[in-house]
């Protein structure tokens, strides 16, 4: 895996579900010609000024059936940084699955870094 193969996902996530699409990408669906998308860094900042919960959701390939999810809890204005190494990713989204997110409060600024295998 080379640096040229990594990409960022940058999104402002509010109370409506947001698609987590790679920068210059066109879809939050992992391409079907790949094995999986590996995320090895997540930086989340609350921008609402209140305690907030960011929920990361992975949908099946139909785009509507929730398969799994997890929460990242943030205090008001808190930034949480979860960084691993490219060869020890913290999240796997398989080919055809969709990566989305929603927040309990007004907004969370979210950056993810990953790559497709």
């Amino acid at each position: 895996m080379k640096p040229e193969n990594t990409f960022e996902i940058i999104a402002t996530v509010g109370t409506s579900e947001a698609n987590l699409t790679p920068v210059h990408g066109s879809s939050s669906q992992v391409p079907t010609n790949k094995f999986a998308r590996k995320i090895y860094a997540i930086i989340a900042t609350d921008t609402s000024g209140s305690a907030n919960t960011l929920t990361i959701r992975v949908y099946q390939s139909d785009g509507s059936t929730l398969d799994r999810s997890f929460d990242i809890k943030l205090s008001a204005n808190e930034t949480k940084t979860i960084i691993s190494k490219p060869d020890a990713p913290i999240l796997t989204v398989y080919a055809g699955e969709y990566l989305k997110a929603i927040a309990s409060g007004a907004s969370v600024s979210l950056v993810m870094v990953g790559y497709d295998l």
């Binding site: 040229e4 193969n5 990409f7 210059h24 990408g25 992992v30 391409p31 010609n33």
Partner: protein, 229 residues
Amino acid sequence: MKPISEVLLREGEDFVIALPITTRRTTEIALAGFRVLRKHPLVYTWTSAPTLEPYGSEDATTDFNYIGENGLGEGDDIFEIPEEYPWRIYHFGIGIRPSDIAVYRAFPAGYTAEGFAFKVPVKPGDKRDFFTGAESPYDNPTSISETVVFYKMSFTIALANFGAQAVKPTLKFLGAAYDVAMYRSKADLETLLSRNVRVITVGGLREFPWSIPEEWKPNVFRFKFHEVR
């Protein structure tokens, strides 16, 4: 796969270019023998590729076209050798950045380079008969991308984006330009073949129409396939 630098020839080395005449029951090929007199470095960083949309998009692929100074099929063809250079032969590999970009080749133009013996020619975006930056990295092109071009041999490529992001790829053509002298008798060629000379099959041994410089024609000889040892 070897780095392309390991398959390039040295000054003073001999090689043979093989072109198919018939590949039916009795395969016959035309052979032209050469010696490398002078080897020039050949490097071209091609930054004029179009932006390719993410995999699955309509514009994730291009059609086959020549590699132009201003883009794919735009401007002067950087691999068109003028008629004043019948003894100049290009031998190079193609490095690709980023890795998710696939290159399909056709040489001569209209005849796709293929390994699989499918009846339908490969199309850009197909899952066969391409190489990506994983097989031939930008900084170290490998033998999978080995290509030979001479005067009258046209060379085209098509590109496909297998990644999730829109990208404007960069290709590096790295190899050598040879000034060659040609062997002028069939006996010379037989001697070369007996010495396990490097035989380069431009475009493979399928049947396709090919053209060679006029200056080569008196010294190109027919061989049956079993005579090539």
